[in-house]
């Protein structure tokens, strides 16, 4: 059951082969057994969870079930959920109980899905290894000595270890796709504006986008049907017709033009990861795809540009944590300034502080043109590179991350090395394009562990249905996405 697709689970629930309460309890039992080691979940509320499961069973019995009714979903702890502790992985919000629901949460509630719990993450989604979380790191289910990636590391480990049927994540610079690559599952970052950011704790608002993290492309399509859609409460939510993201899953790929950006296969890519990606692309050739070389010449600049824009936006967004209305307030203070400065010094971790400081610096008087404006100009060049590439291809493929999962502690003291983890993912956030990572095979680590490798698929704006089709067809002829770490049964 834990390996079943969302569609299969839906059918089992419909046929009353299992109830939502039983299904939910199965996952809660796995969480009890495995979470103490993996640390994927940081908030559980079994009463709330089981109440939702019971309500789902009533709905199913009444014949009103939607496709995800009764299915237990893990929610990244960046989404406010009414009555749930919502911490964003930070000491700043360690005691924050959200007084309202994020749009994504209301969408799952309306669909009758069950909220299994809140998952661990890098603090305020700033990190690529989940090690910046105030609540401790998360173990990669494929090798407990390694990181799951980040920032959606808890959701990633929960999907990989089958501690949920599927999970949500958010992706500002790669936080869905890089962990999907490192933990071996399917993750999709939609086009910017497709999923509402309402109630999703803000990091870099012009880049943040929520998306599904699941076992297969088909599961991601079903999740997208729930998550996507216009919401007037998010000023950047796009007014578009509701889509059925499953509609193109079965289309053959004959004639699909796959663009390979030469910059994604250059220096910096682990040779074994490169081989796995090339093998996957050969599989696409067999499926009838035509391979074309494209160029994204400004790829290397995406990291410097991102580390101006994202911290600048973060420094503004995180100014709301002042210890006045919610969040951490320091225990001892004499005046207002001291209350602000101490509350923020105590409430934020080192990486969050670094990014706030960088953001404050690049926005400070006299530096705006040299940094922020310059970064916005190069951002346009990066978007133009993609526009040019998409004249010659339908989707772009390459690695999602430059290496397999690295050892915990390996990069924590070297922010720049950590930032380079997102070299293949950040440019799509800057351009606002959709991207996904799907399991494409394994690469043996130096200590003999088989570690998952992800293939990244980047689509043009609003081309999620096609990307899911491209991923699904590959998953019909390969079984990488069905593999599960050993020893966690």
């Amino acid at each position: 059951m834990i390996n079943s697709s969302l569609k299969a689970l839906g059918q089992m629930l419909a046929k009353k082969e299992v109830s939502s309460v039983e299904l939910t309890q199965t996952f809660l039992n796995r969480i009890d057994a495995l979470n103490p080691q993996i640390n994927a979940y940081i908030a559980l509320d079994k009463d709330k969870t089981l109440a939702q499961a019971k309500a789902a069973d009533v709905r199913i019995a009444a014949g009103n079930a939607a496709p995800l009714t009764g299915i237990p979903i893990a929610q990244k702890d960046i989404f406010c959920a009414n009555g749930w502790k919502t911490t964003c992985g930070s000491k700043m919000l360690a005691n924050f109980v959200a007084p309202y629901d994020a749009h994504v949460i209301s969408q799952f509630d309306a669909a009758g899905a069950v909220n299994l719990g809140k998952t661990n993450m890098d603090e305020f989604a700033m990190g690529s290894s989940n090690e910046t979380s105030y609540f401790g790191g998360v173990k990669n289910p494929w090798d407990f000595t390694r990181v799951p990636g980040g920032s959606s590391g808890g959701s990633a480990a929960a999907v990989a270890a089958r501690l949920c049927a599927a999970a949500t994540g958010t992706d500002t610079g790669g936080s869905i796709r890089q962990p999907a690559s490192l933990c071996g599952f399917t993750g999709l970052k939609p086009t910017y504006g497709v999923v509402s950011r309402y109630g999703m704790i803000a990091f870099a608002s012009s880049l943040d986008q929520a998306g599904p993290m699941a076992k297969s492309a088909e599961d991601c399509a079903l999740m997208m049907n729930v998550m996507a859609g216009f919401d007037e409460r998010d000023s950047t939510s796009l007014q578009r017709e509701k889509e059925d993201y499953t509609r193109d899953l079965d289309k053959p790929l004959h004639g699909l033009r796959v663009g390979l950006p030469k910059e994604f296969f250059a220096e910096g890519l682990d040779a074994n990861v490169g081989k796995v990606v090339e093998t996957a692309i050969a599989e696409y050739k067999k499926l009838g795809a035509e391979i074309v070389e494209v160029s994204l010449p400004n790829t290397g600049l995406s990291i410097p540009v991102y580390y101006v824009l994202a911290p600048a936006e973060a420094s503004s967004n995180l100014s709301r944590y002042d210890g006045v209305r919610y969040g951490h307030r320091t225990a001892e203070y004499d005046d207002l300034m001291e209350m602000y400065c101490k509350s923020r010094a105590e409430g934020f971790g080192a990486e969050v502080k670094r990014r706030i400081l960088i953001g404050t610096y690049v926005l400070s008087a006299g530096y705006y043109d040299a940094y922020y404006l310059k970064a916005q100009q190069i951002r346009r060049l990066i978007a133009q590179d993609f526009a040019e590439a998409f004249k010659h291809c339908d989707v772009i493929m390459g690695p999602a991350a430059p290496s397999t999962a690295f050892k915990a502690g390996e990069k924590v003291d070297d922010p720049v090395a950590m930032y380079l983890q997102d070299i293949y993912t950040i440019s799509t956030n800057l351009a606002g394009l959709p991207g996904m990572s799907i399991p494409a095979g394994f690469s043996a680590s130096s200590d003999g562990k088989a570690l998952p490798v992800g293939l990244q698929i980047i689509g043009n704006y609003f081309d999620e249905a096609r990307m899911l089709n491209v991923a699904h067809q590959y998953q019909q002829v390969t079984d990488w996405h069905t593999r599960m770490p050993e020893g966690l049964a």
């Binding site: 007084p99 400065c341 923020r344 010094a345 502080k353 400081l357 690049v362 310059k374 100009q377």
Partner: protein, 104 residues
């Protein structure tokens, strides 16, 4: 431009984050590395390129100027922080948030 320890202290003050001397020097090392990465941008000629602030070319929606939210003060103040300075009460009183005196 090389950052100095004074810059770090100034930025930290602007960001309202208290830093000790030892934190400031550790931060200086890390931020210097990050700024070196960022400086790669300066090699690009961006003259005449329109800055891109957002990926979609859309305008802000307008709505009718009518009341759309109800008062949820009680719900929101439930998550107010603890007052501190020896008090374990929440930092709210009569629907207002309590902060140190700022106006004499």
């Amino acid at each position: 431009m090389a950052l100095s320890i004074e810059d770090i202290k100034k930025i930290a003050h602007l960001a309202r984050i208290q830093v000790s001397e030892s934190e400031a020097s550790a931060t200086l090392t890390k931020l210097t590395g990050i700024m070196a990465l960022i400086e790669q941008m300066q090699a690009v000629d961006t003259q005449g390129i329109t800055p891109m602030s957002h990926s979609q070319d859309v305008v802000q929606r307008l709505r009718e100027d009518v009341v759309s939210k109800t008062n949820q003060r009680e719900a929101f103040q439930k998550v107010a922080p603890v007052l501190g300075n020896g008090s374990s009460e929440q930092a709210v009183d009569g629907g207002l948030y309590l902060v140190p005196k700022v106006i004499e």
